[in-house]
Each structure stands twice: as C-alpha cells, then as structure tokens.
Amino acid sequence: MESSGALSNPLGWVQAQLQGGWRRALTIGGVYFLGAGAALMIIYRALPHDAPPRGVSPQAFARGVLLVLLILQAAILVLVGASSVRRAVQRDLTGGMIDSHRLTPMTGWSAVVGYLSGPNIVLLPLTVANWLLSIAVSLFGEFPPLAWTAGLAVILCLALPISAMSLLAGLSSKRPTNVAAILLVLGLTGGTALLFLVPGLGLLLGFFSTWSMLRNVTGTVTFDATILFSLAGQLVLAGIFCVAAARRFVREDVQAFPWPLALMLLAFVAVFGGSGLRVWPEYEGQFIDWDRAEFGVSIQWIATWTVTSLFALFPIAAAAQDSARWERRAALDEALAGRRPTHYALVLVLAATVAIGIMTLSAGDATPLMMKDARTAFLSLVFVLLALLTGGAVLRFVYGLRERVGWIVTLWVVLTWALPPLIDMIRAVYADESGPTQPSWLMGCSPAGAWVLIWYFPHITVLPGLIVQTALALATCGGLAVLRRRKIVRPAT
C-alpha cells in the first residue's frame, strides 16, 4: 500500500493518485526546475554582455526573467489550477463517482479541500521550482528576493476564489464551465473596463495595487492597506464560494447559497462596491485615459448600485425557492414537511437594507453630494425597492412553477432592466434632433435607467417610469397573492 504522504485529505489523496501521485508530480517539478534553470543559463550566456545599450546587464536580464516567471506562475495557479479543479469535478460528475463520494461520511468541507488540493498536486512542485528559480535570479540580479515571493502570495490569493468558483460551477452543472477561461476572455475583450466602471471589482481583484506590484517585481515590497484589504477580500470570497461548494457537494438539490449565505455575499459585494468608490481617487491617476471625466463618480455610483441591486436578488431568490419547495412538500405531506422557512418578504427587506446601507456606509466620503439631496436619495431608494419587490414576486411565482428558473429570471432581468434603456438609445439614434441627443422618460422604466435620469438628467421626468415600475410591482405582488389564494401556483405532481 502506497504511503499516505503529506496529503491526508481522503478525496485529495484519491485525486492525487489519479494525477499519478507524488512521484510523478515531483518528477515533473524536478525536470522543470532543471530544464528551466539550464535554459536560463544558456539564454544568458547567448546574450551579448557588452556595455549598454547593446549588451544586457545581469540586472536587466534578471528583471525580465522575474516578470516572465511571475506571469507564468499566474497562468499556472489561476488558469491551470482552476481548470484542473473543474476537470476533476466534471470527471466525477459524468462518471458517477460523485455519488460514491456522497455516500461516504465525508463532509462537504473535506470534499472542497480534496478537490482544491488533489487535482493540483503537480502545481505544487512547479510553484516551488519557480520560487527557487526566482530567488536564484533575484540574487543573481542583486534584487531583494522577497519581491517575487510577495507577487506569488498575491497570485495565490487571487487563484483561490477563482478555483473555488470553478469548483462550485463544476458541482452545479454537468456542462463544463471554465471560470478562469471566461475571466481571461472577458479581460482580453474589453472586460477590464468593468474594473473602472465598478471600482469595487478592481479593488477586489487587487488590480489597483497589483498593477504597481507587477511593475516592481524587483523592488522593495510594501503591502499597503488597500492591497491587504484586497487580499483579505479574496480570501473571504474564496471562503464564501467554498461554503457554497461544500453545500452543493453533499447533494445536488441543496441550495449552494441559502439566503443567509447569499445575504453575506451581498454584504461582501456592498462593502467592496462602496470601498471601491472610496479608494478610486487614490488610484485613478495611475491609469492613462481613465479619468474622472470618462468614468465620473456618479456613473460609477450608478454602476455599483446596479451590481449591488442585482446581487440583492440572490438572497431573495434563495428564500423564494425555499418557500416554494416547502409548499410543495407540505402539499404532499404536511406532517413530514418540516419547519416552515423564513418568508421571502422578510429576506427582501433584509437584502434591501444590506445592499443600500452597507454600500453607502462603505462609500463613506465618496458618497456623491447628490445623494445627500433628499429628493435624489429618496427617488433612488424608491426605485431600488420597487425593483426588488417586483423581483421577489417574480422569483416566488416562477419557483412555484418549476425548480430551474435560470433563463426565465435572466429574461425578466433583461426585459425590465436592460430593454427600456436599449429602446430609448435606439430611439435617440434615429431621433431627428439638433444638438446632443437626450434620453427620454422611457429610460426611467428600468431601475438602472431611472437612476441615470435622476443623477444626470434631473430635468427629464421619472414620473412615467415610477408609475410603470409601481404598477409592475403591484401587478406582480397582487397577481402572486391572488394565484396563491386560488392555489394556481401548486406543486407539480
């Protein structure tokens, strides 16, 4: 029987054996270390060493190698690591071994640790090899060796939530979802604009601080408060997704995000959304062409508020699903239905409070002055509440009809949030107006559009939008109440 080695987690051990075990991993790491080391020496010897500008100094060579090593390490930990986790889960899901694991007394947490560690057994020796190379190269270039190590720590903290998201995505669907690849494609196709539009995202990804850190892999490392906040946020986010994955592991029908966990995620988003707005002025100067004029604080506020409001739908959806499931069970056998879950309306109130309250508190001094205007603040809040109220009723209604509601809810969000501004933009394009085109009241029919009108175009009325959204909220809530009284929303049997 093979030695248990350092990997004592049962699932991690099995996954490591599927990768060939420690022996194969150490062989790959050793071969890579020797091969890369030899390659670096050959390359350095092949380069001219005359005086600059023709020759390459040891410092210049070391600086280039350290940057390449850091990028390579990022690719290994973020892309390869997350993909390995996803592949391992997919293999267990499609091959049926997930049932075998679920039949054991192994806890969800243990499974999460196993899936994050075992499939990545080969990455550990590779990382150690890169780290040893970085120290050697740093010493060769007479740089402080800890700069690269600090960069490694930053990458590791970023890799953790992405791997946790990959794990959750893998456990949630038999269809392969490569989270790391999606993020990479998003980044390469202009998705980085989101980092400036929603500064909280940039803050969370450590983008603002890492930007300077990556440019300084050879200097003295200082972890300022912002980067420490980012790293802590990444670890918390990884923790939230690990809890969700651990829940989903135990059985496929278990909610990955029950409403308290979804509320925690919402609070997290609100904290980072608000904090991002607060720290943005410190960093905006670093990025050429991205100044306040282009992404003014108001539009960042609206974008952040929109993201937070959409995240507020998660706890409401979880509570609505819980409520619908309980009613289904009770309709079949009330005696064994268990405790009635928390009413989704209560969760709706909590979600609204957390979303608006925490985000505003986190933004602190960055809260735009306009928000301190009573009319603007009141109208903004009214539109948030109407959006959540309608969302809650729609979610409760569709969960009463079926278990899988993804595309219906997406369609509803697109129709009510994106379609009115889109139609208004098309109208503006074809409008025969002299001077700059202006939005119309139509934009106010969407919550996000209404905020744009309130903040940027106070002279355009939001009353039609307010009437439409109030009518929508009343219609959905009233309709749901009537349908439930008539038992039209009943369990599928």
Binding site: L103, T104, P105, L332, L336, T493
Partner: protein, 312 residues
Amino acid sequence: MTVILEAERIRVHYDRLVAVGGVDLRLEAGQLMGLIGPNGAGKTSLFRALCGLQPLAAGRVRVLGAELTPFNRGVMRAIGFAPDTPPVYETLSVEQFLEGIGRAYGLPRNTIEERIDFWLDQLWLSEKRTAKVGALSRGMRQRLTIARTLLPDPAFILLDEPSAGLDPAGRVQFRQLLTSLREQGKALIVSSHILADLHEYCSHIGIIEAGRLRQFGTVAEVVLGHAADWTRYRLTLARPMPEIAVLLPEIEGARNVRVDGRVVLFEYADDPDKAAALLADLVRRGFPVASFSALELNLEEAYLRAGIRQVD
C-alpha cells in the same frame, strides 16, 4: 430486534413524473428484502432515496434511528449502496480504489489494509489487487463494487442488480455472502430479476410497480398471497376424466382449476385436514386418484399472479 431502516411515506418526483409514490418500509437487523418489479418501476429511485442520494419530494428516512438528511454525514457510515452501473476510477489500481474508499470513511490505516485483504479474498479478487480497475471484466467490477460497499462494514446495505454480471460460480458465492451478512445482523435490500435466487436467500419480498409497493411481506406471505391460507395442489388421475373440470370449481374453496389430460392443478385451503377431506370426497365420487400433493409455490408465480405490467 434492532430496527435498522424506517421509511415513512417517501416520494420521489422528477418534475411531473412520480417515480416513487408514498412508500413505507421497515427493516430489522437480519432481514433481507428482495425488491422486484419491471424496468422503470422505481427500484433504482427507491434505492437512491433510501441511501440519501435522491432528494425526497416528501417523506422521511431513518437509519438506525438517525434521520437521513444531506448534512447528517455521520449516518452515512451505516449505509452501503452498490448501484447497478458501478462507478469506478478506471486508472486506479483495485487496491488504490479501495484504499480511497477506506480513507473517505476515516478508517485507520491498518484496518483499511485488513479489510481490503479480507474482501478481495472473499470476492475472489486477490489476484487483481494491483490491476487497473479499467482492465477488469464486468463481473469483476461488480465484485469490486460489492467490496467497495461492504468495506466500511455498513449496517444497512442496498444492492441494485448485484448478480447481473456474475458467472454461475460467482452467483453461488454471492448467495453465501448474503446469507452470511444476514447472520451478522445486517439489514439488506437487493433488487434482482433472478427471482429463484431471491426466493432462496431473502427473508422479505417487495413487489414494486409504478413507484408503489404492491406487495410487501415475508417470502412465504408474498408467495402464498396476502392471506396465506391457500396453496396449490396437483392431482393426477389414473385416466382422463373431463367432468372433474366441472365438479371441482363447485366445491367450496377450490379455485383456478386447470385440467390437462390426467393432471389437474387447482388452488385450495392450506390445511392438511381439509385437503385430506377433499381427497376422500373425490375418491368417494369415483375419481381414480393416482397421486395428490401440495405444490411448493415460487416467487415467479407470485410475481406473475400479481399482474405486474411491463413499463414501456
């Protein structure tokens, strides 16, 4: 006796399809229930529900008194389930595969080694210890799955079509194994289409159709019918006498009379005195009885008699 399994009104739904519709079950230590039914009757769904893999639309399952819920991981120690299509890691060796299972149950290292040795020996897989799982035949994989299920020593064992891939010698050995497990005080549920085998080793039988247990009881109760107060008799006459086909149904308690030349099959009270009186009556009426005996009924007859329809 220790109650191992209590299932109350359990239901499994797939959208609008009711796979299991309100099943109650109770098994005690040492009881072995054979579950029979046509394809698509809900056997696998019931198995998955009883071991906690399948979400219940309603109902409750308790194993050794502990409720089976997704987060009550401790109760999983008491449950062993071998599905009809065994999932395996093809690239691991037999030993690695079983070691992984032992680790997942938190067994000490030496216990894992001992149990792997024991079960590989019991299931004739010792020679395949270092072979890759992917290289095993279907029957060997079936035996490996049984080893995987029994390795943690569960109290409640579910085996879905366990003997499907076994050769004749393997089936004989498997029957002995089940008997041994019963004697150890385990509670087992085994599904199989080989009814003769079930008749031999089961203490109880459940017949499932369209997600409902149509019959459940001891083997004798199911074979003989719910009342268990009648049996089947075979009467052989010295020469054919067609009038017996008219006379017998008129006698109180006699039913389902089938005459085939000199042989007469019919059902009558499972009471030796009444049977003796009937025989005397027939002889007195002039029927030349050459032989008269009660037939031992079997599960196949009971199953067919239950009128279970095949699901398309």
